[in-house]
């Protein structure tokens, strides 16, 4: 409140001064497009007020984006391609940055940032903000895929968190044999036909030591291994380690089932921890987090990173101010306020912050996982890849197509669409 008051005062003074002589930057309105945080904890009004106070004569209008990521993307594509964007700073899903940069919609930030500006960030977020050797966005908040486990159940049977999927499967069998509870599922992950499923499949690829997109741009460089990883996910469902409804599960459906105590393991994002630790949660104090398991020789804990970046529209009429706003909102100070509202910061130092650690004791562990996390393929064609592969992966998970066939079909379609781009 005091900052809001101060902002108003400053604004009033600026208006008065403006009558005589226009100060640089007076009467400027910047528009910020972002997804609101619901509830009293929304830190943005105060943060935007603070920026206005520090920049007399500048007004910031925060405009809400649609809820769903798909709708946000559609909003941006229509408005940016129509050349009348009407906004200056925009929140971007990490997977859009290369696409928007390639389309010429984003301001190149490389020379506008002081040297060392990106050093305090997690490397994978910087990788996701970089395209063709230039920096196009500032990392704002972050996510990483991780494994939740029921620490009470594992302790009861003398088990340690699994390091491999073979161990995970075995532990599911042991716990369920001991509990004799037909309502207790084993391992929950996201298998509905949507972007979240692609993330799960990518993590399965990484855990097996292969990837979707090779460094030279080839799709499925090792189709056999990719098929093996996909087939394993189907195997989990077939053998009942994961429930049949996995093929309709998104983050919330699986999070609620685990949160109600109906599963031993869950793959999800860090936000779920706060909900499991809520005072009325049935699993409060019974949940631990661990890196995602690996297959054979694959790396452990290669969870996919996600989250939001801030970019500046290339058509902004106030590039200096817009970059200043993006830098302010991604600053350590602003990210700390956002972290108190349950968004995970992109700056590593905040994970050691005592205030935040008191509020979220799992932060040091999440930091380790963020460091090991991998971005989804950083390419302007990411949505093309994902939208083309979703029905193929889904068919494999539902058992309609052998995994090898799904990979081959997806590859043929991608070759067609990517070929048309040449």
């Amino acid at each position: 409140m005091p900052t809001r008051l101060a902002a108003l005062l400053v604004l009033a003074v600026a208006v008065l001064v403006g009558c005589g002589e226009r100060a640089p930057g007076s009467g400027v309105t910047l528009v910020l497009k972002y997804a609101r945080i619901l509830g009293p904890a929304d830190p943005f009004p105060a943060l935007l007020g603070e920026f206005e106070a520090a920049h007399p004569g500048v007004r910031i209008r925060g405009e809400a984006l649609p809820w769903l990521s798909d709708e946000q993307h559609q909003f941006y594509v229509i408005n940016l391609e129509g050349r009348s964007p009407g906004f200056d700073v925009m929140m971007l899903d990490v997977i859009w940055v290369p696409e928007f940069a390639r389309a010429g919609w984003l301001l190149d930030l490389t020379s506008r940032l002081p040297p060392g500006e990106l050093a305090p960030y997690f490397p994978s977020t910087v990788e996701a903000a970089t395209f063709a050797g230039r920096v196009w966005a500032l990392p704002w908040n972050m996510n990483v895929g991780l494994l939740y486990y029921r620490s009470d159940l594992l302790q009861k049977y003398g088990l340690a968190p699994p390091e491999t999927y073979a161990e995970l499967t075995e532990q599911v069998h042991r716990v369920r044999a001991g509990e004799r509870n037909p309502k207790l599922d084993g391992y929950l992950f996201q298998g509905k036909q949507y972007e979240g499923m692609v993330v799960n499949v990518l993590e399965a690829f990484w855990a097996s030591g292969t990837r979707l997109l090779a460094a030279d741009g080839r799709v499925f460089p090792e189709p056999e291994r990719a098929a093996g990883a996909l087939a394993f996910l189907r195997h989990l469902i077939e053998t009942g380690v994961s429930p049949a409804w996995t093929t309709a599960a998104d983050e919330e459906l699986s999070r609620r089932a685990f949160g109600a105590g109906h599963a031993v393991f869950l793959r999800n994002w860090p936000y779920a921890m706060d909900l499991f630790e809520a005072p009325d949660s049935p699993v409060r104090g019974k949940v631990g987090i661990a890196p995602l398991p690996r297959h054979g020789r694959g790396p452990r804990g290669a969870g996919s990173t996600g989250g939001a970046h801030l970019g500046v529209s290339r058509r902004t009429r106030h590039p200096e101010l817009a970059v200043a706003l993006a830098r302010f909102l991604t600053s350590e100070r602003a990210q700390k306020q956002m972290a108190l509202a349950a968004l995970s910061p992109t700056r590593t130092a905040l994970y050691d912050d005592p205030d935040l650690q008191r509020r979220r004791p799992s932060l040091p562990q999440i930091r380790t996982l963020m460091l090991a996390g991998q971005p989804r393929p950083v390419t302007p064609h990411y949505l093309l890849l994902s939208a083309t592969l979703q029905p193929e992966f889904s068919a494999a998970l539902a058992g309609l197509k052998p995994a090898r066939q799904a990979i081959a079909d997806g590859r043929a379609r991608l070759d067609h669409f990517l070929g048309a781009l040449q």
Binding site: H73, G191, S394, L400, F417
Partner: protein
């Protein structure tokens, strides 16, 4: 007389002109533009723009995803429209016989119809929940995997759509039933007609036109169905609930293939026009006869 007729005709043409211009600007021009786009490889944001002839259509012709979307659209349209007409008619007949509580029944029907589709879809997501959902509880605690099983997902989506749009048909029919004079039924009763005969000889023939209208509206809507499946299943699992419009949306706004996506749009347009034309022809003969 003849000069009067000419003047009237000229005045008529003048009055229609604004409408024709508006229609031309709002529908014909975008229509031609989409047709033109569909003949190109066009991805503006990647600087790809070249004439492709019928390439996009040739790819569609052997694209399994397109054929699967086309058959899903057909099944969805046939099943949902048939159920909506049947149930809507039954609801209207029941409503017109009902003595008390009509207003409550009408409000309930309107509520289902007035609810935004996205809300309806979210509601059904919970009803179809595999373990906690009301549908499975009502089925005696079965563990049917409604939205995750490729064989059940389309019926589940159809059910949600029928629940949402059946009231539209019911209200249309109910309004028509109110206008049928009671004397008709009395005369029939005097002649010794039973309830079935009255339904088949009086009610249904008089409802014919309104049913045809409902059939036209519902079929055109169903052919373009998008929001129910988009929210409920995202077109999955395994593309089992992906309709042509969902495929077009993904191609246009996610894959940004403006040319290819427009080709799908053109196919949907031709389909809708063909169905509308067939109904209107059918309607003309029925309306003349009625």
């Amino acid at each position: 007389m003849s000069s009067d007729g000419r003047r009237a005709r000229r005045l008529g043409a003048l009055m229609v002109t604004p409408t024709l211009i508006a229609l031309g600007v709002l529908t014909v021009f975008p229509g031609i533009w989409v047709l033109w786009l569909s003949l190109q490889h066009r991805l503006p944001i990647f600087g790809v723009s070249r004439f492709a002839g019928l390439d996009n259509y040739a790819f569609l012709a052997r694209d399994p995803r397109f054929w699967s979307a086309a058959s899903t659209t057909a099944v969805f349209t046939l099943a949902s429209v048939a159920l909506e007409l049947g149930l809507g008619l039954a609801a209207a007949l029941a409503l017109s016989r009902q003595r008390g509580g009509r207003r409550v029944a009408l409000s309930l029907l309107l509520l289902a119809w007035a609810m935004p589709t996205v809300v309806t879809a979210k509601l059904f997501e919970w009803l179809f929940h595999p373990t906690a959902g009301l549908v499975n509880v009502l089925l005696g605690g079965s563990a049917l995997n409604w939205l995750g099983d490729p064989r059940l997902a389309l019926p589940a989506v159809i059910l949600a759509d029928v629940w949402r749009t059946m009231p539209f048909v019911a209200l249309l029919c109910y309004a028509r039933l109110l206008t049928i004079p009671a004397e008709l039924y009395e005369a029939a009763r005097v002649d010794g007609a039973g309830p079935l005969a009255m339904l088949g000889r009086i009610t249904l023939p008089l409802l014919g036109r309104i049913l045809l209208l409902a059939l036209l509206f519902r079929t055109l809507d169903a052919l373009r169905a998008f929001d129910v499946m988009f929210v409920l299943t995202g077109g999955g699992p395994a593309g089992a609930t992906e309709t042509l419009t969902v495929y077009a949306y993904r191609s246009l706004f996610q894959m940004l293939q403006l040319g290819f996506g427009s080709a799908i749009g053109v196919v949907v347009f031709v389909l809708v026009m063909a169905v509308a034309w067939a109904y209107l022809r059918l309607g003309r003969s029925t309306w003349m006869a009625a």
